[in-house]
Symmetry: C2
Subunit: 404 residues, 2 copies
């Protein structure tokens, strides 16, 4: 059992309680949070301007692409997609043990205790099964060619089985349907059935680019050229609305949604979906900025994630939310900052189906500590100051154990 | 004489030439730039994926505020201004020798060779006169109370004289008129006369907030409350248009301009003015985002600057232009990146009246070198990749001498 004390404890509970001179007592779970807690324990005071808060959760990454720095073409979604196809094998091949370790280290230093990994091949499994951070491993399905559906599905099932063999308390499984434009509806249905019967979270990319809408609604635009080049005579196989409806009664996160319209956001809300917002990725592919105000108006819990290094220069989640804070110039920085801390803790935990993300009794003790450069008089400004000044953390506890 | 060779040499000349496997030969001035240059000199090759480019120039800072981290209130311009008034003396008092050194070190590490310092008191002079980086020291005048005009002016003249006593090749003088709302027109005129007769560059804050426009145009809004509280019965003393016109035939940089309208931008263009853009500062005070597209349409050369730590968490200029790159989601990242590198080199040099900012014969040899994490095939993407991946530089040369 450990008792930590800091000048500021951010609980990230429903009331967004911030406790000055607060204490947290935990073993693998959180036992108590408050002030002047009486336990027969030596209290560890973390020093002047210290902060304790829930560890961060990076809901959406593609670590398979972690060897990318300057290979992929930024500035235009379709050019980027083509450059991914061109360099995919090289990049995957270029990311082995050290590359995964370094990606995980970067996340760890920025206070991330858990991440959602999209696995497109299963080759990443051997590098992630002993991850010091919690992994939600999303086996991804992709493929819209009817002739290949069976083969793709068999491979997918085999990958699920492989990932199930990794049994430990830090490794969980999810399923990913790549997107409405790249997966055959027959496959979608099958995958969703598995998710329902085994209660697995789902992730799917949705409305990342304008091109996606043009294609899904009219079978036109840049995706038409793309599909004709690769698959001949392709047609969109599902409407955006039908796509969302399929995920009713699942725990699904819709990634990006930059070009989702109000009707679609409403539907996502109706089926209890989540949204994952990757502002740097969206910017580098020049697809625009998610309308967070709309997302909030539809009461959809959003989380912020780094996406993979295929479309980011960093996996540091504090830097990502700082970017979000700067980019959403229509929102008040003070209140946006509060929201952003929720987005990478409690909201992210819900989307990944994890029992952490807030400092409350019986939650898993996934905790970070760090120090601010100076004191913050006004509690209301604490989230903003944390986001501006924090690049790396001092200590990370996962299930109550310090991870160095 | 030194000869450096790198995989990429960005000249930042008029043609934006990028030279692969390029070389730069210099002593205190740049002697030659090209490939296979023949000089009787040992060539220093900077290694794989190395870059040589002009050192950066941070046109607008307030180092007097460098001790601020969490004191000032962000999120609202007027609340911030009030918090500045409340904490000003403490913050100034809290920034002495070590504080200035650390601010300069941060700039140096990010590749800055020169900065424009707004000096409101003159107390910073002793800390800056031996700066390893070039300083353009803008003595600032502020005060709109007619009764105090003479006293303010005498103090201002004394500060100019003091700063003139600092004679060295890295220290130059400029003048600053705080803003149209805070300086009496009589003082403005006098200061502009000095600038004209001594050929000194000027900086002035302009249209930073909506409140400024409301006040200048109608004598209304939050500034009315502010002035009535501090000075009783104050009235705006100049219109925005008249204000700009005064700077005809000077070398003036208008700082911020977030709320400048098209007519004002046109006038700034007509008088040959510059604009300094401080995106992080503007965001933290929640005043909005400068319309860079308009600025470009009016052909006004803009530079990007960090502003002071009174409204920023960092003085790193690479981080500032990366923020700008992310924030201006309406502009294409590839082309914006090219512009942003210009903004902190050649454009900034022009605004500060310095003979550097590009790698061209006879320019002062203010040069940085660093390495990218990987090669960049497409030259067009080089500026973007540089901005994404560069946080600190390897070497900084000022007037041809390495500054460590």
């Amino acid at each position: 059992m450990i008792k930590l004390k800091a000048d500021y404890v951010l609980t990230l509970n429903e009331k967004y309680e911030i406790i000055k001179n607060g204490e947290v007592v935990f073993d693998d779970k959180i036992i108590d949070v408050g002030t002047d807690l009486e336990y027969d324990l030596k209290e560890i005071y973390l020093g002047k301007n210290s902060v304790i808060m829930p560890a961060l959760i990076n809901t959406h990454t593609h670590l398979e692409f972690s060897s990318n720095y300057t290979h992929l073409e930024y500035g235009d979604f379709m050019s980027w997609l083509n450059s991914v196809l061109e360099h995919r094998e090289d990049l995957f091949h270029g990311c082995k043990s050290e590359c995964y370790k370094s990606a995980i280290k970067e996340m760890k230093k920025s206070g991330i205790c858990a991440f959602g990994q999209i696995s497109s091949t299963g080759n990443d499994l051997k590098y992630l099964k002993h991850s010091p951070l919690k992994v939600v491993y999303f086996n991804e399905i992709i493929g819209s060619n009817p002739a290949a559906v069976d083969m793709i599905y068999q491979d997918f099932l085999a990958r699920i089985e492989q990932s199930k063999e990794v049994k430990n308390d830090k490794f969980k499984i999810g399923l990913s349907i790549h997107s409405p434009y790249s997966v055959h509806p027959i496959l979608m249905k099958k995958v969703i059935e598995i998710a329902k019967s085994e209660d697995l979270p789902i992730q799917t990319h949705f409305m990342e680019s304008k091109a996606e809408r043009k294609w899904l609604e009219n079978g036109e635009g840049e995706f038409k050229i793309f599909f004709e080049k690769h698959f001949k005579n392709a047609k969109p196989l599902i409407t955006p609305q039908e796509f969302i409806e399929q995920f009713e009664n699942t725990k699904t996160t819709f990634i990006h949604c930059v070009h989702a319209n109000e009707k679609e956001l409403q539907k996502i809300n109706e089926i209890g979906g989540y949204i994952s917002h990757c502002p740097i990725s969206n910017r580098l592919l020049n697809v625009g900025l998610l309308n967070l105000e709309s997302v909030k108006n539809f009461s959809i819990p959003y989380n912020v994630a780094t996406d993979g290094k295929s479309s980011n220069f960093s996996l540091n989640l504090f830097k990502e939310i700082r970017a979000a804070l700067l980019m959403h110039t229509d929102l008040h920085p003070k209140y946006l900052a509060k929201d952003l801390l929720k987005s990478v803790t409690i909201n992210a935990a819900k989307a990944l189906n994890l029992n952490n993300g807030s400092l409350e009794k019986d939650k898993e003790a996934d905790i970070i500590t760090f120090r601010l450069p100076n004191k913050v008089e006004d509690e209301e400004l604490l989230p903003l100051q944390i986001i501006l000044h924090t690049n790396k953390i001092d200590n990370l506890y996962i299930n109550g154990k310090e991870v160095k």
